[in-house]
Structures are given as structure tokens and as C-alpha cells.
């Protein structure tokens, strides 16, 4: 008893109904644009590629957490403050208290994930919008961060981490560089330039693959597989799509949402740890506005602000677009203040496009 009035769906239309589509097209366009306009500026030389790859990877790390949380139907805008907070915690514990760096990092992760749990519990128990609850934490954590650092050091920036991370096994996982031999070989065969002066003369300008990028790739793959291939992923979609319907069939919506808040905090802590280890210092203003940048990546990537639909791969592509455009404008020598104009425009375009996609899926007109 098939309803013969249902149109056969064309392959094109089927391809359209994927959350990543807009981001995929956007990524191609952005690369095309910069290849044309900035192809000879060093942007696509190894050091240039490393530059925008690292920036994109940073965005991707927090975007994965924001993406899964948004699909589960919630926001976390305390991510940026969480980054500053986690960094200061690591720096205070290791530099001021003299704890080993790996202990400090683990402590920061425990504290951040616990804060994520608090965020989630407050949202679930009070029934308040997560926007408001995490907005409160945006201020609370930023304030605590500045207060803690002033209290312990009379400064808002705590340096000296760099000397401590040498030979620390856990610090390497966040700030290290892998595949050095491969990159040295690239340099030997002339694929990568070498330093010409200073103590590092003769070494390749790109030492290897930063762990930051490895983290981004691992988190994106983890998030994608979790979301699309597992039972828990189905529950994430269900919790964000219609929490009441999910509860009817026995999905533990509260647990799913709280876990996603914790995962978002975890991602923020990964971001913070990589940053502290790489730059050797933590500052109270780190991570400022990062929550919105994460949300922008996610939305460009095709995830609906209302939850229940989206893609981690899309969010990762959103992060690439964001990173490439931000750094690329510098390579073109363009006025960097226009970056925000571009960002706002692309965000608006992405949201309009996503709304259109959703109409196609649900068959609304």
C-alpha cells in the first residue's frame, strides 16, 4: 500500500539532506578563494599550512564539545571562561604549589569535568535554559580566574610552566610534536624549508605534527563515531530532538545531557592544557569569546541551534573555515577588522541554509 504520490528522491536531493553539505561547499570555496588571492603569500607553504591548521585545530577541539551538546539540545557559553580557568589552575598548581605538571593537568581535568557536571545538574534540576545557567558560569569562572591569579601571584599571567614541562609524560601528550623524523625527511628532500639562523639553523621550519592537531583529529573521530554509530549517539539526537518523546521510550535524557556538559568542559580543558603547555604560561584572559567561536563553527557546520540534528564532521569543517579565513585574511594583507564582517555574513548564510535544509527534511513548506 505504498503511497504513489511520494516523489522518488533524486540523488542530488539526498546529498543535499546532509548536515555537512553547506560546510563542505563552504570549505571548498574558502580554499579556492585563498588559493587564488593568496597562493603566493606563503599561506600554502609548510609554515603557512601549519599556522592555519593549528588555529583550525584549536577551534575544532572546542567545536566538537559544543556540537554534541548542541545536538543534545543545550548550550554551554562558559567554555571560554573554562579555558582561562583551567589554564590558571594548571599554572598555579605546578608553578606556585610545585606539584608535578601531570598532577596539575589531571587536577584541572577533574575540576573542569566536575564543573561541567554542575552546569548540567543545574540545567536539569532547575529547568532553566542552559544559556542562562552557563552565562552565569561565564562570569563566575572568569571572575574566579582573575581573583585566583591575583591572589597567588599579584599578576593575571602566570609564566614559568615551560621550564617544568620538560620530560613530563603527560605534558608531551598536549604540547609535544610527533612525526619529527618524517618532517625532517620532508625538509631534507626540500618539501619544507629550514631555519637559516639562530640555534635551530638547519632544522625544518615545521618540526612535526603538533599534538594539538592530533587531539583535534582524535576528538572529531571520537565525536563522529559516538554520534552516528552508537546507541548513546542515538540518545543524543533523541534528547535534543524531543526530550519528552525520548523519555517516553526510556532514553535517560538527564544523564545524556549532563554527560554532554561534562564532555564540553573536557574539550575546553584539552584546549586550555595544549595552550598552557605550548606557550608556557596561563593568563586570566585566555579563551575570551571562544564560546561564541565554538558555536559559530558548529552552526556553520550545519547543526541546528534548536538541537536534534547536526554533524561533528560538519563542525570540524566549520572550524577549518573559521581558521583558514581568520589567518588567510592576514596572508592576503586584508584589513583584519573585516574578518568579523565576513564571519557575521557567513554565519547568517549558514543559518539560513540550515533552516532550508530542515524544511526539506521535515517536508514543511
Amino acid at each position: 500500500m505504498t503511497d504513489e504520490r511520494i516523489k522518488q528522491v533524486s540523488a542530488l536531493r539526498r546529498a543535499m539532506i546532509r548536515p555537512e553539505l553547506g560546510a563542505t561547499a563552504g570549505t571548498l570555496l574558502v580554499f579556492l578563494f585563498f588559493l587564488l588571492i593568496a597562493g603566493d603569500s606563503g599561506m600554502f607553504a609548510p609554515a603557512g599550512i601549519q599556522n592555519w591548521t593549528v588555529v583550525s585545530a584549536q577551534f575544532a577541539i572546542i567545536a566538537v564539545g559544543a556540537c554534541l551538546l548542541m545536538i543534545a539540545g543545550e548550550f554551554d557559553i562558559s567554555v571560554g571562561s573554562m579555558i582561562g580557568f583551567a589554564g590558571i589552575v594548571i599554572a598555579i598548581l605546578s608553578v606556585q604549589w610545585g606539584l608535578p605538571v601531570w598532577v596539575s593537568i589531571l587536577a584541572a581535568f577533574v575540576i573542569c569535568v566536575a564543573l561541567g557536571w554542575v552546569n548540567g545538574m543545574l540545567v536539569i534540576k532547575t529547568g532553566l535554559p542552559s544559556f542562562i545557567v552557563t552565562l552565569a558560569f561565564l562570569y563566575i569562572l572568569r571572575g574566579l580566574t582573575i581573583w585566583l591569579s591575583i591572589l597567588t601571584t599579584r599578576q593575571t599571567i602566570i609564566g614559568g610552566v615551560k621550564d617544568l614541562v620538560q620530560n613530563d609524560w603527560l605534558a608531551f601528550l598536549f604540547g609535544g610534536v610527533v612525526l619529527k623524523d618524517l618532517f625532517a625527511w620532508f625538509a631534507d628532500i626540500g618539501l619544507i624549508e629550514k631555519f637559516v639562523a639562530g640555534t635551530r639553523a638547519g632544522q625544518p621550519v615545521v618540526e612535526g605534527l603538533p599534538m594539538l592537531v592530533v587531539w583535534a583529529v582524535v576528538l572529531v573521530i571520537f565525536g563522529h563515531v559516538l554520534l552516528t554509530r552508537t546507541k548513546f549517539g542515538n540518545w543524543i539526537f533523541a534528547s535534543g530532538g524531543d526530550a519528552q518523546a525520548a523519555r517516553y521510550v526510556g532514553v535517560p535524557v538527564a544523564r545524556v545531557k549532563i554527560l554532554m556538559f561534562m564532555f564540553s568542559a573536557f574539550c575546553a580543558c584539552v584546549f586550555a592544557t595544549c595552550q598552557v603547555i605550548e606557550f608556557g604560561s596561563a593568563a586570566a584572559d585566555r579563551g575570551f569569546m571562544k564560546e561564541f567561536e565554538a558555536i559559530i563553527c558548529v552552526v556553520i557546520g550545519g547543526t541546528l541551534l534548536t538541537g536534534g540534528y547536526g554533524s561533528v564532521i560538519g563542525a570540524a569543517l566549520g572550524a577549518i573555515i573559521f581558521g583558514v579565513v581568520q589567518q588567510g585574511l592576514f596572508f592576503t594583507g586584508g584589513e583584519s577588522s573585516l574578518f568579523r564582517v565576513f564571519l557575521g555574513t557567513i554565519l547568517l548564510g549558514a543559518v539560513l541554509f540550515n533552516t532550508y535544509i530542515r524544511r526539506m527534511i521535515t517536508g514543511e513548506r
Binding site: F237, A245, I361
Partner: protein
Amino acid sequence: MSAPLIELKSIEKHFGPVIALSGVTFDVKAGECHCLLGDNGAGKSTFIKTMSGVHKPSSGEILVDGKKIAFESPRDAMAAGIATVYQDLAMIPLMSVTRNFWMGREPEKRFGPFKFIDFDKANKVTLEEMASMGIHLRGAEQAVGTLSGGERQTVAIARAVYFGAKVLILDEPTSALGVRQTSNVLATIDKVRKRGIGVVFITHNVRHAMAVGDRFTVLNRGKTLGTAKRGEVKPEELQDLMAGGKELAELEGSLGGTI
């Protein structure tokens, strides 16, 4: 016919001073479609929620397979084989048919230390179950939002049936549908009934009820006015009962003295 799968006797439900149900007697047997008719505000929703374990009755008793039982939660009712398909269907339009069908009970396969959803199995079963209800989907991966209202209703019914419902409560399944969609859903009800499942069909549309029902009970102002078998009652009479406009004496004859 056999003994009732579920039997509710003189159920009353009070919310503070408000009396929502004041004596409802209802039962459903295996393989029959028992229609519960009532106008808006007659107490249909409260009654469904009592039968599906959301509310506890203030007085009266519920028997499942002849044994007295008290549902503490919807989960208890589900465990006893009583599945409810609510008017809003509990479907998520943006998710695929498969994901909706298996939501909360996803089949898994092991891959090393990890467990993933067994999509091959999930899609196959979904398509089979839908086909057995007479709906042939293009693909199980299509979003529920692309389905028509009747098809969505069928997904919800197929889901309940597949997961072992003995009694299926359908809350106004045809109220928002067009003629053709409605006939599809009524055909689905017929298929479910033939599998030996007891169907409780809640509606305020007498014609829909007459099309598929084996027995008819009218609910008015929180009370059941009696149960009639198919062929014992005319549509006009049911209509009048729902409106509550006829004299009791006049009704007595046609309903076989069950008031």
C-alpha cells in the same frame, strides 16, 4: 472470546476536588478492537493515562490476565505489555525512521571493546515491520519528517508491536488525518488485531470507530455509559450518547441493559 487481557473496574480518579473519572469500567480481549468514544473533556486522556500507568486510580481496580495489579509507573505498564501510542506519537521528525523505531532499545553489535548500533539489522527489521503493516518505505534512513501523518502513525504502531505489546492503546490516531491516511491507519489497526493484540482505539469520530471496532464504549463526563457489540448499535446512537442528549430509558433497549 477469551478472557480479557486487561480489565478496569469502576475506576475513579480525583484531582483534588475535581472528579475526572467517576466510575469507568472497560476491558479489552486478545484480537479485538475495542473503541472508546467520547467528546472532548469526557475524560479520555485521564483514562488512557490511568491505563498506561501515568496516573494511579483513586479507587477501582485494574486486572491484567485476571490478576489484580497496581502500576507504579509507565514502565510497569510497558513491562506488562501495555503500549501507548500518544497523539503526538513520540516521534522525532529530524531523525531517521530506523533511529526512531529503535530509540531507547537500539540493537548493538560488538566490535572489539566497542559496541556499535547494528544498523544492518536495525534497518532490515524496520523495513520488514513497516512492510508487514503495509507501508513500503524507500529506505529506513529517511527522516520521519518526510513521512505522511498516517505513515508516522504506522511507525509508532509497528514499533509498539515489535517490542511485544499485548495491548495497544491508540490515542486519537485518526484525528489529524485526511480520508485516505485514515483508511490506511484503520487497515493497520485491523492487521494488528489479527495478530492477536488487543487494541484500544480512542476516538471521537463514530464513523472511524464503526469501520474497525468490535466493541464500543462511550465515555461521558467521566463515566462509561455502557458497552455495545458490533451490530448492536447504530452510529447515530453512539453519536447521541457521546453528546449525552438522549434519555437513559431510550438507550437501555439498544444497549442491552448494560447501563
